[in-house]
Structures are given as structure tokens and as C-alpha cells.
Symmetry: C2
Subunit: 467 residues, 2 copies
């Protein structure tokens, strides 16, 4: 049963050199520690309490090292980075010591991409978009997850936050964050997409980059408690069919969610990409409603009310509905349909002449797994299957890649997603024929049409609508 | 073929209210933009160049908003967070506006976990450890990925960095970062584990938390170019069997890697968790050698040399070898054997009385997928199968969970991993019987024994060796 693999039978050597070097290295380190001019100097007054020591050291490193050169340099670095001097030859100088960042690292000062405001910074905005053109793989860095709020990001002390569950239940309950974290947990890698993703693009190509046209979707590994566990605890009464989720932000954001969905796969997420959920994503807890409109994933969740009918909140009556050509609006259009976009090459990029390029992008569906992605490099005349990066997860960004040799002549590149239900991402024309153009921007929500990028003769890439 | 799902047939409502609200909201926003006392005020002098506008706005936001309250508050926040005032009722005040973070978000000020130095801050250290006890799911936040360097973290300008590939090749080549990024890419979710993970724990239980005993392993989604692509380009000569990988840090870290492994699954990673690889992980590029010792994943990679024999560098002769009872050392012990650890409850935690607890932890193997994890709550007398969180990926942390009702009496909890090769994680006694205790700390590298956590009658959890 306990089968241990044999140890390596590769070359052996004698023991002496290791011992010598360990001793020599230790002596050298001790010397550094005793030298007040060394960055490794440990003052003799250091307290022996290990907890205090750690705190002291970290605070000390931040206060002392940080106050001078590094703190000053920080102002010149992009958001989320620390500016450091760049040596002519990095092999000739000691690098930044471990722990210099206070124990929580930042990105390189040479990486400058940021979430951007819509549509440009001279306009008021309540969302920022993920720079998908810079993305790699499927995980969105938490610092770049798109952001959408209706009253800004609240600052909430998790030790004082609670979730109240009531309504058509036999046992209303109030949970602290500590209570919620004691329940069995799950982790799921899911995208969240704002139903307004692409809203500028209905009538004419408007924003120039994929960040503008598609940057309201992001993917994280989310961890939390299945909502079914909580609903089981409060003992939902028969006849209950809906659930109100309410956020603790200035907008007191509310949406009605079918109880069937709540029981199926919703969960209360307190973790994002291996740490606590980020403030702008709902810290300390948000509702995950996999595959449904982003706005239903209520952030800063503080209340769940169970009922036999929907609550007809502002966000599901006056907002987040879809006008149809007959002047009426479809309500409760929950699911995000299958979609894909080429993220490279994409708008505003510049190809460096004819030759090999890897076309890559993301595909996703609110209805399950991506089954296939097809790419056209001739404006939709012919389509070829792209390679999908595994593992392909349900309701999750899926990275596709397609090798392409550009002949240097003007063309249009496109991708389309086919999900496991058999649904194929439509052309814009098909979508407009079905849904009409009735909103202030054409239409508003649920634009999932094929995106066209034109490659000009000079290699410039731009956002176009395919005629 | 193009089967479109029908639109929702849920309730409809008339158009008027949407239009009214959109107009009213727009008017309110315009008023805010014109009000110099509003945070949304846009000065009339804003330049019309959209690129400049964005930069202007972000720099402006950081300089103006940042200089006062927020910048000052930052000093009081933990690393990687921004301190903000906590309102008594967050629903009654406007939250932090989008873009206030410069477009790159940070964690909550209430989250304080950090990588820690080994063994404590009064000792010189060249590594920091991931706080696994705080982890959720399988992704390690990039800011908390364990860190190990031999000369500190170099600061490298990617536009000036290049990779030279030479030796037993027909066509030596030098690649810029831009060159490397044009090749077809792959993404893989892999752990990297330092072969010294747990080195304090051979002879007696030493460090108190799982961060100390196991924190030199972390998991990221890595993106880059298969090494086989590059080796194909330079056209490796027949007879070549090894490859030297050299880093551009102050240690000029070097290791020999078998060519067979290089061709099989090694890759040159420039991406980590959806953005550029972090400085302390090898920015702008590191070698991934999946499943092998962490030190072989050469960071800040600048040179690859192909040869017919290993290079016998310092790091594979005097260091990173394993002493055996006969006084000789095993060299080239590349693979990280199957391992697991319970991360909660774990050392220094305090159980709040008898009752339900979810036991959770991580399992991994350098030889492939985790097949099974077993948990014992009676000090190894009986074992039960834990639930594994899918998808289970090869050479990747796998989250396991096990529901447990603690009876309030002293016991020892343990986990053991069985990987797809059939290997079962050994007890410490089995491992010591096989390998001996010959290093300055007992032994040094490749400790993958079962970890025991004692739960005392009062609920206190501590690191013990099972007799």
C-alpha cells in the first residue's frame, strides 16, 4: 500500500564541501548582522518576543527604508508598483532584500496597465474596465478586476459586518463573518460580466481598444459558502420562490434572484484569488450568481430576504431591463450569453509587418462550458477552430489561441464562441435584427455579438463593424 | 448551425420609466461635474487629447487625493493596502469613487497577512514564506507568493533584457522580450516548492505555524513560451543532453537541467496570475521546470547553454544535494515528491469548543496529479478520504476538505497525499529511516513527511511529531 519511490541513483559526492560552505556562509551572515552599515544589521536591542519582533521589523523596514528613497520613489511609480533604481548591470549589485516590501509584493514599475474609466476621464463614471489586451491566461489580477458600483466602494470592518437572513423562513438568522467562515466552503473559478459590457458598440464602433469594448468581464477563483447551506439552516417555507439580496453600500443595491438558482449554484464569496475578496469586489462578502448579470452578484452583502415573488427593485424595473423594438422591455434577462473576443491583436495595436502572429483571446458563456471557438481571418468568410487552453471550466473565461501568418494585406479578424448548449455567438446584424436599437446608445445591455478588428495594410488594428 | 436561444419570456414593462430615469440621472451627473466642490468635478481646462487626459486624471487623482488624507493614512495600513476612514454606517455615505486607486486596486486595510522571514526577523534571511493558513482555493495571491533569492531581487528593465541561447546548437540566438512574446504561448497552473520547505522540522517540531513548516510552496497560473519551441529554433546538435539556465541576479544563479525535461514541459514564463510575472518571481522572465525543485526554476533568466553533460554548478554540488546516512550526498534530486498539509486547523489556531469544523488543506505532487488525500483525526490510527476540489491539475496545489465534528478531547490530525503514480506521502519516521539525519538541522532538503497538528483539550493547535 505505502509504496515509496526509490531515491535518486544519480552521482554522489562527499560530505565535506557542504559543511564547509554552510559554516563559511553562516559566518559571513553573522558579520553582516553585526555591521551597522549593512542592510542586514540587527540592532542589539531587538526584543526577544517573536511576535513583536516580526511586527517591529516590518514596521521598521517600512518606516526607515520607506521614508527616504523608496517612499519618495513610490510617487513616480505606476499604481501598485514601487519605483526602484535600475542598475546598469543587475548582476553587479545586491538586489532588493526579501521583506523589503513589508511582506506583500507589488508589480514591476515597468508594468503600467490600469483599469480605465468609461468612456473617458472627463466624464463621470461608476465603472472601470479590465485591460484585457494585457491579460494572460484566464485569471484576472485582483487589482485589475473590472469595477462597477452604484454608490462607490464602502469601507466595511469585517468584525462588525453581519448577514441577516429572513422572510419566508422558519428560523431567521444573523451571521457574523466568523460564523460564515465556519461552514463548509467551495472554490470556483468563474467570470463575472456586467450586462452593460459593450454598451457603446451597438450602433457604431465607438471605443478603440478591447479594454473599452469588452473590459467589463473578469475572472477570479472565488471561495465561499454555498447559499444552499444557509437556506437549509434558516429552513425556507414552502411556497417561497424568490430571494432578495441587498448590499451594504451607499446605493443599498438590491436584486431579486430565483430561489431555484440560489439553491443550484449560488454562493457567498469571501475569498478571491486566494485571499480576502477585494474591497471593490464586495469585501467582506459578495453573492456569486454564476453566469448571471454582474449586477446580481450583490457586493457588500448584508441581507437576504426570502419571498414568494420578485421584489421589483429599481435595478430590475427602471434599470437592467432590455428594450425591444415594440417599445416594451424584457425584464429579468439574467443569463449572460456565449461570447468571445480576440484580445491580441486588438484595437490600437500595431503589427510589425507580415509574418507570424499568435491570435489569442477569451471566450465564455453564462450557460456552461465553452465547447468550441472559431476564428476568421478573412472577415467572416471562412472559420477555423482555435485551440482551447485547458482545463475548460464552466462559466469561466477560456483562453483560445490560433496561429496566424499575416500576408501584410488589409483584413478583418473575428472570433465566435459555441457553448455546450449548442448556442453560437451571433453577428451584430443578427443580434440587432432580433433585439432592435431602442436605447439611448442604440441598445444598452447584453451585447454579445462577434467583434471585428480590422488590420490595415500598415499593420494598424482598429475597431470596425463588419458590413 | 447557428442556433440562437430564445430571448427571455419573463414579464415585460413599458418604456417610459427607463427613459425618464436615464435622463434624470444624466442631469444629476452633469451637475456634479460642474460643481468644483464635488469629487466628480471636471475642470473646464481639461485637455481634449484622450491619452493625455487619462494620464492627467490618474496622476491628478494620485497627487491631489493621495497627498492628503489617503497618502498619510497609507502609512498606518498594512503592506498592500490603503487606510480609509470606516464610517459608522456605510450605507449613509458615498463610498470611494472608482479610479481613486489609480486604476490598480489593493486589498482591504483589515487584511494583514504577510509573507514572513525565516526563522525570525533577527536572523538574516533570503526567503519569505506564504501564509498558507490564510489561503483559500488553490491560487496564491501574487503579493504573497513565497520568495527565495540568492542575491536579492534585481531590478531589470524589460526593454533592455535579453535571453542568449548557445552551446551545442547550430544557430545561437539572442531574444528580446518582444521576440519571446511573439512565439505561441501556453498557460499552466503549477505549484513551485522550495526543496528546503520544512527544513526546520526534521529532528523536532520547530516552527509553530503552517506558514513556517510549509510556506515555501505557492501556486500561480503561469504563461509563457514552451522551451521546446526555442530549442527547436536554435537547432540543438545531436549528443546534447543537458542545459544550463542562468539568472541575471547578483548571484548569477545557475542550474543544469536534463534536455529531456526541457523538451517535455519546461517553459519560459513572463506571465503570472494574468499579469506580468512579479519582480521577486523573476521579472521579466523565469524558467518553469514543472515539478522540480524551486531553485531550478531560474528567475531573471538571461542565458541558456546546451551541453552534453551537467555543468556542476555551485547550486548542484555544494548546495541542493541530500546527505545520506553513509556520509555521501545524492545529487540531482530534482522531483518534489507528493505532499500534503492541513492548513486549517493548523498550528497556533484556537478551536472554539467542541463542534463542527471543516478540515481543509493542500496536496500536491511534482510527479503529476493528486489522486487521493486521506485525513486522520485520531493520530494516524484510521484514515478517511477527503473531498478534492476540482479541477485537479497536474503538478498543482489541490485543495482538500474534510468535514469534522470535534468531540472536545485532545487528538492529533494529519493528512496524507497519494499521487497518480501510486506514491503515498510517508510518515516522518519512514522518511528518516530511509534518508537519515545528517545535516546541520537534521537533514535539509526534500522533507515531505506527514504533518501532525495536536488539538489540545482547550482547542489550542500545535505542531508536534507523532511518536
Amino acid at each position: 500500500m505505502n509504496k515509496m519511490l526509490p531515491d535518486s541513483t544519480l552521482p554522489e559526492r562527499t560530505r565535506s564541501s557542504t559543511e564547509y560552505l554552510l559554516a563559511a556562509e553562516e559566518a559571513a551572515l553573522q558579520a553582516k548582522r553585526a555591521d551597522p552599515h549593512s542592510p542586514y544589521y540587527i540592532p542589539p536591542s531587538a526584543t526577544p518576543d517573536p511576535t513583536l519582533q516580526r511586527r517591529h521589523f516590518l514596521m521598521g523596514a517600512m518606516a526607515v527604508v520607506g521614508a527616504g528613497a523608496i517612499r519618495q520613489a513610490r510617487a513616480a511609480a505606476p499604481a501598485g508598483a514601487v519605483a526602484r533604481e535600475v542598475p546598469a548591470d543587475a548582476t553587479k549589485v545586491q538586489g532588493t532584500p526579501v521583506g523589503d516590501d513589508g511582506g506583500y509584493g507589488t508589480r514591476s514599475q515597468f508594468e503600467t496597465e490600469v483599469r480605465t474609466l468609461y468612456p473617458n476621464p472627463t466624464t463621470f463614471s461608476s465603472w472601470t474596465m479590465t485591460p484585457l489586451e494585457k491579460g494572460m491566461g484566464i485569471i484576472t489580477p485582483s487589482g485589475l478586476h473590472f469595477e462597477r458600483s452604484h454608490g462607490g466602494t464602502p469601507t466595511i470592518d469585517p468584525s462588525k459586518h453581519s448577514l441577516y437572513v429572513h422572510g419566508m423562513v422558519k428560523q431567521p438568522k444573523k451571521y457574523s463573518m466568523a460564523d460564515l467562515k465556519r461552514f463548509p466552503s467551495i472554490s470556483r473559478v468563474h467570470f463575472i460580466e456586467c450586462s452593460g459590457n459593450g454598451l457603446t458598440e451597438w450602433s457604431k464602433p465607438t471605443l478603440k481598444t478591447v479594454q473599452g469594448t469588452h473590459g467589463l468581464t473578469s475572472t477570479s477563483e472565488w471561495t465561499g459558502v454555498p447559499l444552499s447551506t444557509i437556506l437549509g439552516e434558516v429552513d425556507v417555507r414552502s411556497g417561497a420562490k424568490w430571494l432578495l439580496a441587498e448590499g451594504g453600500d451607499a446605493a443599498v443595491m438590491t436584486r431579486s434572484i430565483p430561489l431555484e438558482k440560489a439553491m443550484k449554484d449560488c454562493f457567498l464569496a469571501y475569498g478571491q484569488n486566494g485571499e480576502a475578496i477585494r474591497p471593490e469586489q464586495g469585501y467582506p462578502i459578495r453573492l456569486m450568481v454564476p453566469g448571471y448579470e454582474g449586477n446580481m452578484h450583490i457586493k457588500w452583502l448584508r441581507r437576504l430576504e426570502i419571498s414568494d415573488k420578485p421584489f421589483m427593485t429599481r435595478e430590475e424595473t427602471s434599470k437592467y431591463t432590455d428594450l425591444r423594438p415594440n417599445g416594451k422591455a424584457v425584464q429579468f434577462s439574467f443569463e449572460m450569453d456565449a461570447k468571445s473576443v480576440i484580445t491580441s491583436p486588438s484595437g490600437e495595436m500595431q503589427l510589425d509587418g507580415a509574418g507570424f502572429y499568435e491570435i489569442t483571446g477569451l471566450a465564455w458563456s453564462g450557460r456552461g462550458r465553452v465547447k468550441r471557438v472559431e476564428v476568421s481571418t478573412d472577415g467572416g468568410k471562412t472559420w477555423k477552430e482555435a485551440q482551447l487552453q485547458g482545463p475548460i471550466m464552466s462559466i469561466c473565461h477560456t483562453r483560445f489561441r490560433f496561429p496566424w501568418k499575416w500576408n501584410g494585406r488589409e483584413t478583418v479578424i473575428q472570433s465566435r464562441c459555441i457553448d455546450e448548449t449548442g448556442y453560437m455567438q451571433p453577428t451584430l446584424k443578427q443580434l440587432v435584427n432580433l433585439r432592435g436599437l431602442n436605447g439611448p446608445l442604440g441598445s444598452i445591455y447584453h451585447l454579445n455579438a462577434i467583434q471585428s478588428w480590422k488590420i490595415a495594410n500598415d499593420g494598424k488594428v482598429s475597431n470596425v463593424h463588419q458590413s
